[in-house]
Amino acid sequence: MPKFFNSKGKQLEGDIDGFLDRVTTAGLIFHEGVKAYVNGKRDKFERNYQDITTLESNADNIRRDIKHKLYTYMLIPESRGDVLGLLETLDDIVDICEKVLEQFSIETPEIPEFLRSDFIELAELSSKAVEEVVKGARAFFREIGIVSDYVNKVHFYEHEADDVEEHLKRNAFNSKEITRFSHKVHMRYFAEKIAEVSDVAESVAERLSVYAIKRRI
């Protein structure tokens, strides 16, 4: 049995760590991508978009591989459903990060100067929420007692992101600088999309706190 663990178990432990690394990286690239776009660095933005597309398909493959291994080798039968559920919802975060950058790339929204800092701050808060939820997921596997600390941080960043989102939308709609109504709606749309990353991170954190209670011996 220990020998068995050295091969399959360790490999799977590595796969899970690798998957979690990719989710964190997706959050960071997302932040960098939005920053690059808003600051008008289109080349850098497109590189970020390419990177996140590759990362997304990569994370998908790892997740499928983990699922396959968990069932084939009959590992963690008790918490298998929870672990797969957790990895799937974490994968949703990567998907959304990629989708938002894709929409920036396709729709090329025109970001006025006075909204730039809000957009960057919103992306940064969403990225932080992602980072904390991944830390929480790592704790779920190794140190169940501190999961709630990370869950609280995710709640905090999501709440902050909500505030910035509202501020951004009010600024956009009250502004005389943006003349077209469609432009205002476009700004609202992107603010909501960026904030959605933190919303999904929060729903993963909610699941995580339930799984953590279930896993306590």
């Binding site: 049995m1 663990f5 009959m74 008790e78 918490s79 596997f141 190794r142 007692g145 896993r215 011996i217």
Partner: protein
């Protein structure tokens, strides 16, 4: 020979039913939660039950012998049959039945019928142990639960690694539990046949000496193993997914606590050691593995703050201490009457 096999059949049937029911106490959660495959569990369980029965079965059987020395094969047949029917009947009624309590009742029934005086000191020793064993199991589980919790939380062990270690742990304590079950409970199955054992001592290749009692226990052990292989899977699936919802780590604690309890009441070595140290020795008495498990689960409930404490189950256990032996004694008495007067068999000397 055919007569001997016929008369032993009730004991073997009791063994089969013990294997079918009690293997689930040891491997139920592990198999029910798919931590261990049924075939692996059944193999380990059978092998260790047989080893436990042959190597260490004498102690607890001796106590049953003190209670009532059933000295005719036909009488022993009825005593084991009455116990087996009581177990079957109570199992159907959904009560946590104990083979130990059924056999003790049946022996008392034989004592009444043969007008043998029941040793009150032996009886009180046995009944005292029944009450004490779930309590002891609960105390062990309470302590082990806290130790396991501290270890798991402080070691920061990965979920997958914990899973792997828990499987190994469940296999090891499962083997230990099976050994203890065989040692402690073989007396229930074959104990009543000791005084009328049809076997002779044999020595295999000048190395292995098997006394007539050990041969009897080997046969009983095989009957238990047969019960494990043929019928215990169904019971294991019920235990694993039904009555007690345990996590793999708590399952490990439950099996460890109840196995140690069974072991303590069966270990001749420990008994001798304590006696030689002038300490009060633990009586060697067949106890109920089901009740040891229920005790352990209660211990864990208490360790978790007393939530989910199942008082109904506790009530059923206490009821079993009285109802099972009484039912079994009455049944044995009536059956002995028929065996003697209708089938014209000598049931006591």
């Amino acid at each position: 020979m055919l007569t001997i096999i016929f008369f032993l059949s009730s004991g073997l049937f009791l063994g089969w039913s013990l294997g079918a029911n009690d293997a689930a106490n040891i491997f139920g959660t592990a198999v029910g939660t798919k931590m261990i495959k049924f075939k692996t569990a059944a193999l380990i369980c059978s092998v260790f039950i047989i080893i436990g029965a042959v190597v260490s079965g004498a102690g607890a059987s001796h106590t049953l012998g003190e209670l009532g020395a059933v000295n005719q094969l036909a009488g022993a047949f009825i005593v084991a049959l009455a116990a087996a029917i009581t177990v079957l009947w109570m199992t159907k009624a959904g009560l946590p039945v104990s083979t130990s309590q059924a056999i003790v009742g049946a022996i008392i029934g034989w004592n009444f019928f043969s007008q043998t005086v029941t040793s009150i000191s032996s009886l009180s020793k046995i009944v005292g142990t029944w009450i004490f064993s779930p309590l002891l199991s609960a105390i062990f589980a309470f302590l082990f639960f806290h130790i396991a919790k501290i270890i798991v939380e402080r070691s920061k062990i990965h979920l997958l690694r914990l899973d792997s270690y828990t499987r190994i742990g469940l296999l090891i304590v499962g083997a230990f539990g099976s050994y203890s079950l065989g040692a402690n409970n073989i007396g229930n199955v074959m104990g009543v046949f000791i005084n009328s054992s049809p076997f002779q001592d044999i020595t295999l290749a000048g190395l292995f000496h098997l006394s007539s009692i050990q041969q009897l226990f080997l046969l009983g052990g095989i009957a238990i193993a047969f019960g494990v292989f043929t019928y215990s899977k169904k019971v294991m699936m019920t235990v694993g997914s039904g009555i007690f919802k345990l996590s793999p780590v708590t399952a490990f604690v439950v099996v460890l606590a109840s196995s140690i309890t069974l072991f303590l009441f069966a270990s001749q070595g420990l008994h001798n050691l304590l006696t030689s140290l002038h300490l009060p020795a633990i009586p060697l008495v067949p106890v109920s593995s089901s009740q040891a498990v229920v005790g352990a689960v209660m211990g864990i409930s208490l360790a978790k703050g007393g939530r989910n404490l199942n008082f109904k189950k506790l009530g059923q256990i206490s009821m079993g201490w009285v109802a099972t032996p009484v039912a079994s004694a009455i049944l044995a008495y009536i059956a002995l009457f028929f065996m003697q007067n209708v089938f014209m068999q000598i049931v006591f000397k």
